[in-house]
């Protein structure tokens, strides 16, 4: 399971950095290294780009797992270099940005857009697996999530756009309901296709979501 990210346009990065000429870059050794959006190579490339924008890069690091507590120790180690910079540019997912914000007293700017939590299906191809909807129906849909795997999040079967196993929005994308049907059939549980799913509860945990584990 990885957090899937995509680099923002250089225009947007430059806009975020307006008035901030000294930058410290943070990459991440986990998800963004796998997705090639925040590993060492991308951090070094970003350093060059920033220098072309006439920014001064005071330093950089790639934290093993930026969303984790180890970030605190790393930030401490680079304390002075970060202080010398006016801001931190995070080539991590948004969770890393949040983590950095806990320990850094400089503005932290995301260089990436965080898109979804995905599994690697085939090398290099990631698919969203779960949207943390708060009420899991995987037991009745043969392990295929209709909330995120169906483009429209349909709970009661395929729309008319189902297309030889693919979805109407993209010929490369599987139709979730064709998959659910196929897998229920293989499990000998086809009658579940006839089962009515009521409207979803969008307020299982109202936003901002929080919980206490006792």
């Amino acid at each position: 399971m990885k957090t899937i990210t995509k680099q923002k346009s250089l225009d947007e990065i430059e806009r975020q950095l307006a008035g901030l000429d000294r930058v410290f870059i943070v990459g991440c050794g986990t998800c963004t290294t796998v997705t090639k959006t925040g590993g060492i190579d991308q951090v070094l490339e970003m350093k060059e780009r920033l220098e072309q924008m006439d920014k001064w890069v005071s330093g950089w690091t790639v934290i093993p797992t930026a969303c984790d507590e180890v970030t605190q120790a790393d930030v401490k180690e680079y304390g002075q270099t970060i202080k010398d910079a006016g801001c931190v540019l995070a080539m991590t997912c948004a969770l890393g940005v949040h983590r950095l914000n806990l320990y850094v007293d400089r503005p932290v700017m995301p260089a990436l857009d965080t898109m979804f939590i995905g599994v690697e299906e085939t090398p290099g191809r990631f698919r969203e697996a779960c949207g943390q909807c708060g009420h899991c129906v995987l037991g009745e849909t043969a392990g295929v999530c209709p909330v995120v795997s169906c483009h429209k999040g349909l709970m009661n079967g395929p729309c008319g756009g189902t297309n030889y196993g693919k979805c109407e929005v993209d010929k490369e994308m599987d139709c979730a309901w064709a998959l659910i049907h196929e897998r229920l059939q293989a499990q000998g549980r086809l009658p579940l296709m006839r089962m009515y799913q009521p409207p979803r509860n969008h307020q299982v945990v109202p936003r901002p979501r929080a919980t206490r584990i006792s």
Binding site: K152, G160, V169
Partner: protein, 307 residues
């Protein structure tokens, strides 16, 4: 006031519905012209709801216009643009203003349309929307609250008989029947043998089926639909027939004339062989020629004697 469409569906007569698309903007002239042209020739007129996810004048407004002009509106309602509160409220408005028919749809996906960054709502799906209609009829809303005055609708849905794979689609058809659909308008069908097979299945259920007839205007259009529109299959002989019609020095408009002839022929075959309970004619931008399709199908008798 009871639904005139419902009366037609219950009468056992062959039912004909068609549809009109509201404009993008506030100029309603062409739209009203289409309403006036068709309202007395059909048993009901669908008003499309931002079809293909292209923002337009709303379906509800279009249905009110049809009522003002003495036609029988069928409110198309998709789940793409409103959450359950918006959908329920619009059903209250429709019912209170004499719109007695609703067609419950999922809706096309947002990225196929002209507002590609919009949120696709899909708070409900088409099955849940049908159940919501029935719930509001019972005097309750989805929050479990009492309504001061319930709604009343003849509720319909759609089905795609040429979907691949078909079986999941048939399960959904059954769910829509369970949810209270009284009639179905199908996605375009062109292969009547395939359609007859579908009807063998559909006839088990106490619902009326109106076969979807989409006007073909050229071989190119037919080919395009085969390649790009999921759930539509135009058999090769029909494509050849359309291509032949415009070969050589055929007059301008020969393709469209052939399409009208094909549509009329199909409708006649469906009716003569009692394949299903009626047809739903979609001319998609060529509403002008719907009367010609009806004439080609042998429906002159329906036209008012004096116009």
């Amino acid at each position: 006031m009871p639904s005139r469409l419902k009366e037609a569906l219950d009468s056992g007569n062959f039912v004909v519905t068609s549809e009109v698309a509201p404009p993008k903007g506030t100029n309603l002239d062409t739209f009203v012209h289409h309403i006036d042209l068709l309202k007395d020739k059909v048993d009901g007129l669908n008003v499309t709801d931002h079809q293909s996810s292209v923002m337009r004048y709303p379906s509800l407004g279009g249905c009110l216009l049809i009522n003002e002009h003495g036609g029988e509106p069928i409110l198309q309602m998709t789940c793409r643009d409103r959450n359950r509160m918006g959908l329920e409220a619009d059903l209250l408005l429709a019912s209170s203003r004499g719109i007695n028919n609703v067609l419950c749809l999922t809706g096309d996906s947002v990225p196929v349309g002209d507002h590609k960054e919009a949120a696709g709502v899909f708070d409900l799906d088409s099955v849940q929307l049908l159940r919501t209609v029935r719930l509001l009829e019972s005097g309750l809303d989805l929050g479990g609250n009492q309504l001061d005055g319930p709604v009343e609708f003849c509720a319909g849905a759609i089905v795609t008989p040429e979907a691949h794979p078909l079986e999941p689609q048939l399960f959904k058809f059954e769910k829509k029947v369970d949810a209270g659909a009284e009639f179905f308008q199908t996605q375009a069908i062109y292969d009547l043998d395939n359609f007859a097979n579908f009807m063998d299945f559909a006839r088990q259920y106490p619902v009326r089926i109106l076969a979807g007839i989409v006007l073909l205007s050229s071989a190119k259009m037919a080919q395009y639909m085969n390649n790009n529109v999921p759930g539509i299959f135009v058999p090769q002989p029909l494509i050849d027939e359309l291509a032949k019609a415009v070969a050589g020095d055929a007059p301008k408009g020969a393709g469209l004339a052939k399409g009208i002839e094909i549509a009329g022929r199909m409708i006649r075959e469906i009716r003569d062989n009692a394949l299903c309970d009626g047809v739903h004619i979609m001319a998609i931008g060529k509403e002008e020629v719907v009367p010609q399709i009806l004439a080609a199908a042998g429906f002159e008798a329906l036209e008012p004697a004096l116009e």
